[in-house]
């Protein structure tokens, strides 16, 4: 069977996440957001998180464009981190991400898989200025809850 390796990368559940992703879109109550890309391949991921009072990730959404691995892994990650505390998320390592994805990846394709993980790890340090949970200045919140995808200044 000549296609063993590829069957491993393009497993059914990976393709399912690619074509029917979990939480692709905007998070209405986003408190944190970040985006980044892999310039080498042009993969782009934008993540919006709603982090609640208990430092818990209430909701996680992504938008993006790129290869199957970058987009399917983002979908898997959104599904995985909802309900996690921020501390637990910070301890969710790159190795954990590769394990979550499941398929064996060459080093170049690992970068695709780890893009959303990198963005999520930066997003927890990138509060959205007009976030509903942080309405320090009344009247400054966007009633639509929409966030703009360029919040690079706070990424630690």
């Amino acid at each position: 069977m000549p296609f063993d390796d590829e069957q491993e990368v393009y497993q059914e559940h990976i393709l399912d996440h690619y074509e029917d992703p979990y939480h692709r879109g905007h998070c209405a109550q986003a408190t944190h957001a970040h985006d980044d890309d892999n310039p080498l391949c042009g993969d782009v991921i934008h993540v919006e998180l709603q982090i609640g009072d208990q430092d818990r990730i209430e909701s996680a959404w992504f938008e993006g464009d790129g290869c199957c691995i970058s987009q399917a892994s983002a979908s898997m990650l959104m599904e995985k981190i909802e309900g996690m505390t921020v501390d637990a998320l910070k301890q969710f390592t790159a190795q954990d991400m590769l394990a979550l994805f499941g398929a064996r990846l060459t080093p170049n394709r690992q970068k695709c898989c780890l893009l959303s993980w990198r963005v999520v790890q930066a997003a927890v340090h990138a509060p959205v200025e007009s976030a509903p949970a942080q309405q320090a200045t009344p009247g400054n919140s966007d009633p639509s809850g929409a966030t703009q995808p360029t919040l690079r200044e706070d990424n630690a």
């Binding site: 069977m1 000549p2 296609f3 063993d4 390796d5 590829e6 990368v9 393009y10 559940h13 393709l15 399912d16 996440h17 690619y18 074509e19 029917d20 992703p21 979990y22 310039p39 080498l40 391949c41 042009g42 993969d43 782009v44 464009d65 790129g66 290869c67 199957c68 691995i69 979908s75 394709r109 695709c112």
Partner: protein
């Protein structure tokens, strides 16, 4: 499909010279090597020339009095003569060995650019340039305050030549343009561009990395002032490339790198540079790679560059035919008659990296990404593309493998009604 009977040579006979082409991967998939625009493979004749050089002739060049150094120096200079003949340069010392096309272009940007370009001067590039013919000029612009202008391309990947005269004026110092686009495959009318640029008083640098390996090169009939190319894209070793420059220009340029070889005399107070071409070959040059390049040139000359060009046109025409027949495949660049042996494409709904990964499972090695042309991809409105690029050792049957692999990719990705919850229609 029966192969046309008019092949200019038997590719199977030539393939036998390339040990790597008999590779079988993933158990039973013969290697189909379609990444020749990135780098080509090497025939035994080139590989053995390297071994022979190290085993029998190797010493440093232009230094020793001893027998071995004399021999090494003679062979290195004979390699320069091979290059001169191959590109039809007038003088041997117009051929400078560098480490590759990138180094050649940087040499011109540093040596010629730093000394001749003033704030407000302009350099004209095109939208289809490789990063190696953009970034050195952006760096020059940062150093000197000159301005870069870009000749646009049409949607199907041809230069908008009518716009060139409008870009050229008395402050245009240089036009730097690729002879063949490494993505679109477009063959540009170099001689015409040179003549228009010269009429406006500008010099011309040709990035010939994608043309020298595939067609007859005549730097004099081009009229070009500088020509840059790499050895590894034409059967030679990596680590050697060439800068051709017109003698009067090279003579007037200051040395770029300083060190051994490039000097006539050094005192504690200063130095006198050496004559051409040593002036631009500081340090120990890529001696053995240069000998390998000469062996590669000998091999190419035996096939005949016109034969190679003719055969690759057949491969490109077949690739267009085969790829256009696959639904959802969009070919980049112009009609095959304006193309060298490069076909880039995008597949609807499948990212270039996924295309390349599935191709790889069929043993087909293609390139995926932006191919060092991010501005070109932005112009085309795409993030990435897939590129199959050919050489004389590829076959028409191999081209057909492209379609087989693409159809397999589409079977994987285009299954309707996928759901994370496992329901299947």
């Amino acid at each position: 499909m029966a192969a046309p009977t008019t092949l200019p040579f038997d590719p199977q006979v030539l393939r036998a010279d390339f040990p790597i082409l008999s590779t079988v991967l993933h158990g039973d998939q013969p290697l189909v090597y379609f990444d020749n625009a990135a780098t080509t493979q090497r025939p035994r004749q080139v590989i053995s020339s390297l071994v022979e050089a190290y085993e029998q002739h190797y010493a440093n060049v232009h230094r020793g009095i001893h027998w071995l150094s004399e021999q090494s120096t003679d062979m290195y200079e004979e390699a320069r003569e091979s290059v001169r003949r191959f590109i039809h340069a007038r003088e041997r010392h117009e051929v400078v060995f560098t480490t590759g096309a990138t180094a050649s272009i940087n040499l011109v940007a540093r040596s010629w650019g730093d000394h001749h370009v003033r704030p407000g001067d302009e350099i004209v590039l095109t939208e289809m340039e490789h990063h190696s013919n953009i970034v050195p000029w952006q760096q020059l612009a940062q150093r000197t305050g000159c301005t870069l202008r870009f000749l646009p391309i049409t949607d199907d990947g041809l230069l908008v030549l009518e716009a060139l005269d409008g870009l050229l004026h008395e402050r245009t110092r240089l036009v730097a343009v690729t002879a063949v686009s490494n993505v679109l495959g477009t063959v540009n009318p170099v001689a015409q561009i040179v003549s228009q640029a010269h009429a406006a008083g500008a010099l011309v640098l040709i990035d010939a990395a994608q043309s020298v390996p595939h067609a007859i090169t005549d730097v004099q009939s081009w009229g070009a002032d500088f020509v840059a190319f790499s050895g590894h894209k034409m059967l030679g070793p990596s680590g050697v490339g060439v800068l051709y420059g017109r003698e009067t220009l090279l003579d007037a340029m200051p040395p770029f790198l300083g060190g051994g070889s490039m000097i006539r005399r050094v005192t504690l107070e200063g130095f006198e540079p050496a004559e051409l071409p040593a002036k631009f070959e500081a340090g120990t040059p890529p001696i053995v790679p240069a000998l390998g390049l000469a062996a590669a040139i000998k091999y190419l000359e035996q096939i005949g560059m016109d034969n190679i060009g003719r055969y690759e046109s057949m491969l490109t025409a077949r690739a267009h035919q085969v790829l256009e027949a696959v639904d959802g495949v969009h070919l980049l660049g112009p009609d095959p008659r304006h193309k060298a042996g490069i076909t880039s494409f995008v597949v609807q709904g499948i990212h270039a990296h996924d295309v390349a990964q599935i191709m790889d499972q069929h043993g087909v090695a293609i390139r995926a990404g932006h191919h060092c042309t991010m501005p070109l991809h932005k112009r085309l409105g795409i993030a990435a593309s897939s590129r199959a690029s050919y050489y004389f050792y590829n076959t028409l049957d191999e081209i057909d493998q492209l379609a087989v692999a693409l159809q397999h990719a589409q079977r994987i990705f285009h299954r309707a009604g996928r759901s994370r919850h496992g329901e299947r229609p």
